[in-house]
Amino acid sequence: MPPSPPPSEAVYNRPNYLTADRGVWSWLVTLDHKRIGVMYLVLTTIGFALGGLFALIIRLELLTPGPTIIDAQTYNRMFTLHGVVMIFLFMIPAIPGIFGNFLLPLMLGAQDVAFPRINLLTVYLYLLGAGIALWGMIHGGADTGWTFYTPYSTTTTTKVAPILLGAFILGLGSILTGINFIVTIHTLRAPGLTWMRLPLFVWAIYATSVIQVLATPVLGMTLLLVAIESVFGFGIFDPGRGGDPVLFQHLFWFYSHPAVYIMILPAMAVVSEVVQAFARKNMFGYKAVAYSSLGIAFVGFFTWGHHLFTSGQSAFNAGIFGILSMFVGLFTAIKVFNWTATLYKGAIQFSAPFVYFCGFLFFLVFGGMTGIALATVSLDVHWQDTYFVVAHFHFIMVGGTIMAFLAAVHYWWPKMFGRMYSERWALVAAGLIILGFNATFIPQFLLGNMGMPRRYYSFPERFWPLNVASTAGASLLAFGFLIVLVYLVVSLAWGRVAGPNPWDSRGYEWDTPSPPNKENFPGTPVITHGPHEYQDTEDGGAGSEVTHAA
């Protein structure tokens, strides 16, 4: 373990953006992107806890083949709410909302995002959407699965409309965040910060915002059509009146496949920064990683059909979508190779964020390759709608996005709150989480191979042992997340003072005191070199200091 900077040098910057103005009202009407990032941190963590609760109830129910703790109707509601809450309240808003908001202006040398008032509006849209969805859940909630396939979603007797309206409003918040970030990156870059000197975090957030802006409206329209169909019966998806239920699947997946890239691209953004900071090395193939983010964003729009291979879609379309899905997988492969190659000749500090990076890398490779396997059309026929698909996307979402989320929380915790978390507990929790994750989802791959369909309340005897293993893993995973929550909250008050740059990282955001001041930079910083250049940091090289213009 390398010696961290002596405590005497670390000073807790006061007054900072947290203490600049007091009172709840100052938080409710703040336009400061850093405070909005902290608010998103609190809100999405609550969303994650709620979604996790539903997940545990599902895993408990699947402990035995027959009914265990709840009946079929409640089980159907549980997995629907697990899907809706996890995706719309955590996976999509979390990393862009927290770290995009907090770090983008710091990395670009700007005072704030382009439209601060719209930024605050997205927080209230998040609250409104989550409120309406929760109201729907309390009053019975939908039992259609988060995919709302018609005609089941339009003829079910449970209340689907509130959850659809909640998702619509959360989608609107997601669009506005996307617009905000794209305009910020285009117009508010500091002088000297050319596109090729942008941190890779900014590239990936830019790609995410492009998807958020261009894909979410189609979801909004589709959910609106389902609500209209279930209330008035216009027959747009009703096969009895000429409607085509597969059209809903086309429109839904046109959003939802790019949406899975909205979830993984911010994780790749975080990982690009973490690997450079903890290997103390510039990114191997900066251009390749930057352009592959844009590649994922654009080609990601052409591949939604691989969700419809067995849904009655024509073989001709299956061919087109199959080939295009291979190319989008290729961009992820390029990123993985470049991250691994970045470690070559580096100076790796093996602390918690880096452990999460290793977990992320392995799970993204394994999860990604199973994704490619799913895109070879004939294998998908066997795996579609089985636990293999459930395991695949949980490998990418939990193994990928949530690992990267934890890496980001640990890496930027000292910058956001000025205090260090306890390294020992962090490594213990990381180990538990990685172990629990494997124990939960590897059995599900095997269940998928055996042919256990997803969303099954009761299952034949032969699937029992693997389900017990998966439930055990799930409880271990939940325990790991709990430990992380505890020691992070504890570190807020009792954590060691971190000082401006505890990791001695050359990212632009580390040139501010921690926690940063309300107005990020005294003047307008002039950028004279690329991010993460460590070639002359030995014996206090001054080359890397950022000069502040008058």
Binding site: P3, Q73, N76, T144, Y149, P151, Y152, T157, P239, P245, N282, F284, G285, T310, G312, A315, A318, G322, I323, M326, F327, L330, T340, A341, L343, Y344, K345, A347, Q349, F362, V365, F366, M369, I372, A373, A375, V377, S378, L379, V381, H382, Q384, D385, T386, L446, L447, N449, M450, G451, P453, R454, R455, Y456, F459, L466, D504, E533, Q535, T537, E538
Partner: protein
Amino acid sequence: MNELMRTLLFLPEQGTDYARSVDHLHYFVISATMLGSAAVFVTVIAFVIVYRRRRARQSTPVVEPKPIHEAVFIGLPLVLFLVWFGIGFPQFVALQTPPKDAMDVYVQGKKWMWKFAYPGGPSAVDTLRVPAGRPVRLLMTSRDVIHSFYVPAFRLKQDVLPGRYTQTWFQAKEPGRHQIFCAEFCGVGHSAMLGEVVVMEPSEFDAWVANQRRVVAAAQDSAPVPSEDVDVRTSLVDQGRKLASEYGCFKCHTVDGTLHIGPTWLDLYGRREKLKDGKWVVADEGYLTRSMMDPRAEVVAGFQDVMPTFQGRIPAPEVAAIVEFIKSLRTSTVRPEPSKGPVYAPIPPAK
């Protein structure tokens, strides 16, 4: 090698040649995945150990990729992925185009049961009998929502769309029994919508079909009033029991008093029922008929309103038969044997 990999990956047995070829692609893909992730993992572990940080502010050289690196990083995975697609897609096209001489079977998915009908032959619920070695084409449709006909042993899955027909085919290798699942979420009974593919010797199958047809023909001759669907027994109560099983009422309502998704029918007729909104109602013919046509209007307290409406699906005489059957279910007159409605129990073929 095939058996080893198949058991290693927990794959079900291979009922068709198509399943076998798909599994071979599966082994190729999974071993490449294992190799790829192991390679990345070992490289990372090696780099972490070799290039660990030695000094606090250690500087590192700037390493820029040479074009060859990018070419390999892009070329290798692309070729591998396209090869997989090249193998997988023709298999899928073969699955989607049944041979001309295939035997047709009409499949009908309905909320929480599978119904199979042979053109001009017998029909059965939840058991599909097919001859071994002969291609069988399934022409499938659904009565209500999207279901998905899934036989893991044949690596076969095809969604069943309401108001539309979808098709798929298979050719079972040798006799055996394989489970059918519904793979597209379709409500409360989604996990109970199981069926079975019974693969029989071709000769045995032909005998069975001929036998079934003879029974149906005989019943048609003896039936006094020729009606389009033959009622083997004539009394209204038995007809009601058969119709109740056909419309899937027994999936939610029991006849022996045990609690299930819907209220039990034992001693239901004439009982005073407390409704969800607190009102009391006597379960007479009117209430029984109304609750069949618009179930959500008067839901009995303590039960969810998940019953689908049968409005326009059951003709009046059949409604009357079902109500008669419910009226006959009184403790004093109920026969002791388990009253699971008789599904088309096939008559054993004459040896």
